[in-house]
């Protein structure tokens, strides 16, 4: 029995791979914390064992009664606190950085569902439980959940974020080392929680481009969205070049929207998602409520991502629709959109094969 176990220990990894820019930074902080902890543990250990031995009853039968010492108390309250302030500051700085993806980040969409990760790329490629990313390119994930709370985690990149149903969550990373890394769900999500795992493939940019050109027979994400836009009859009210019964969607992405109740909101992913699934939540000024049906339960999160990609493609000059260097250049969004609108104007025929 024991002999069977020995090979287990022959090649025993004790530390995760360091495969992203973040990983190295967080590891530095981690080792700082480990060092502080080790020193503190040593101090306490030496104190306890030292005093216990030195003042053991056989050596010291008569204890010396001591009241205490305010100076000492303040010292061992304030000094550790100062060290902790360093931890706080350092940790907060990296955390801040993790909240702000760079402008040139390549965008990938992830939907968590009991018990799988569905990945969508802007060029329309889809994967399940796998994520391909180019090395050296910041990647921003926009994540949604179809059911319960999941948590998207790539230990080798030291990134993790909960995926909470009802809204979008984001995280970003810059892979630095090519390889195949674990992808875990780390928020308990039911029976096959342990099966909600996958692989992240960090690839050299050239190999990545090769991989990316292989997939995506259904057109780009925006094309898929446009098809949905037609199928669901959105285009009958959301006219492309004039105001219909519902707001015109051209050029609205990431622009301020005046609401009927006087507030102004930005038409970002979160707003668009809400307006598709629950149109009455925020009514645009000058429009009536209850015209658009509720798409909650009719459209999957993946569909919503496609629709948003389409709406984005109608606003060509917004940064989020730019494609980054290492990413596949599937289509120029403006062109695709114009082609789509032309097709639309020509008679409402569904398009979906605008891919170059």
């Amino acid at each position: 029995m024991l002999a069977n176990l020995l090979p287990l220990f022959a090649d025993l990894p004790l530390f995760p791979p360091v495969a992203s820019k973040q990983a190295g930074q967080i590891d530095d902080l981690y080792w700082f914390l480990v060092a502080v902890s080790a020193i503190m543990t040593a101090v306490i250990f030496i104190g306890v064992v030292g005093f216990a031995f030195k003042y053991r009853r056989r050596a010291n039968a008569h204890p010396t009664q001591i009241e205490g010492s305010t100076v000492l108390e303040l010292t061992w309250s304030i000094l550790p606190f100062l060290v902790m302030l360093v931890m706080f500051w350092w940790g907060a700085e990296l955390f801040f950085q993790a909240q702000n993806p760079p402008k040139d980040a390549m965008e990938v969409f992830v939907t968590g569902k009991q018990w799988m990760w569905k990945v969508q790329y802007p060029d329309g490629t889809r994967e399940i439980d796998a994520l391909h990313v180019p090395v050296g390119q910041p990647v921003k994930l926009t994540m949604a959940s179809e059911d319960v709370i999941h948590s998207f985690s790539i230990p080798a990149f030291r990134v993790r974020h909960d995926v909470v149903p009802g809204h979008y969550d984001n995280l970003w990373f810059t892979p630095t080392k090519p390889g195949k890394y674990h992808l875990f769900c780390t928020e308990y999500c039911g029976n096959q929680h342990a099966g909600m795992v996958g692989w992240v493939y960090a690839m050299e940019p050239r190999e990545y481009t090769k991989w990316a050109s292989g997939g995506g027979g259904e057109g780009s994400l925006a094309d898929q969205g446009e098809a949905l836009f037609q199928q669901n009859g959105c285009s009958t009210c959301h006219l492309l070049d004039q105001q219909g019964r519902c707001p015109m969607l051209r050029g609205i992405y990431n622009k301020p929207v005046q609401l009927a109740d006087g507030r102004t909101v930005t038409a970002d992913d979160a707003y668009l998602r809400e307006s598709i699934l629950d149109p009455n939540a925020k009514i645009v000024s000058g429009f009536e409520p209850n015209i658009m049906p509720n798409f909650k339960g009719q459209l999957s999160e993946e569909n919503v991502i496609q629709l948003i990609a389409y709406i984005k493609s109608l606003s060509p000059n917004t940064p989020a629709s730019q494609q980054a260097g290492g990413a596949p250049p599937p289509i120029t969004p403006s062109k695709g959109a114009r082609a789509a609108s032309a097709a639309n104007a020509a008679g409402g025929a569904t398009s979906g094969q605008v891919k170059q």
């Binding site: 109740d261 629950d278 009455n280 939540a281 009514i283 409520p289 209850n290 509720n294 909650k296």
Partner: protein, 227 residues
């Protein structure tokens, strides 16, 4: 807590004060009961506080939907209930006073009055619940909101409405049980100027339950009337 042993003879006997074996003096016993009751009421505040917190958050998020529900709340019945509860608090306070004055007849009278007011409250509440059922305003079981654009978020308010008023009603029912216990004890001539702690403690509880309603009424019935 300074004096431990009281000279026996001048003070009422342990039997009269219902002094339990582990207390040194009736004053200590009364102090302990009072502190215990207030601590319990703090617990209750936190208990309802969870629901008030949820209410505050969703009201902030969905103000219009929440305001629209006022149309479906019966302000007349709610207002009547508020008045009924305030009266019951008055009779409860008078009951405590009667106990302190060793006036058994009055104590019984006020306890009965308080219980009648409490029952009226619950009956009215029952009619309101029935009306909500008829109007399809019970989330999860039969919910159909007449204002479609608020259908989803109004459910949150009605869920909170039933949880909050339901928990409040449950506290009222418990209170009525406690009052019945007091009434039986009063009839047995247990309470007097030397021993009225249970009347006072249950009185505190009753006032607390009333105060919860004083918060619930405007939050649930009058939001839409703010404008």
């Amino acid at each position: 807590m300074a004096e431990t042993v009281i000279p026996v003879g001048q003070e009422p006997t342990a039997e009269e004060t219902h002094l339990r074996h582990h207390f040194a003096t009736p004053a200590q016993q009364m102090d302990a009961a009072t502190l215990g009751m207030w601590t319990f009421l703090i617990t209750e505040v936190l208990f309802f506080g969870g629901m008030f917190a949820a209410y505050a958050i969703y009201r902030g998020m969905y103000m219009d939907a929440f305001a629209s529900t006022s149309e479906f709340m019966n302000v007349v019945l709610g207002g009547t209930n508020t008045a009924v509860l305030i009266c019951s608090s008055l009779t409860m306070a008078l009951g405590v006073r009667a106990a302190q004055l060793s006036n058994r007849k009055q104590l019984q009278l006020f306890l009965v009055l308080t219980m009648i007011f409490g029952t009226i409250f619950l009956v009215i509440k029952g009619f309101e619940y029935h009306a909500k059922w008829v109007e399809h305003l019970v989330p999860g079981f039969n919910f159909h909101y007449p204002i479609p654009q608020f259908e989803r978020h109004a459910q949150i308010l009605f869920f909170l409405y039933f949880c909050m008023t339901g928990m409040h009603a449950l506290h009222m029912i418990v209170g009525l049980g406690l009052l019945s216990y007091l009434l039986i004890q009063a009839t047995r001539k247990v309470f007097s100027a030397t021993y009225y702690a249970p009347v006072e403690m249950i009185g505190l509880y009753w006032h607390f339950v009333d105060i919860v309603w004083i918060f619930l009424f405007p939050l649930l019935y009058l939001i839409g009337h703010r404008k």
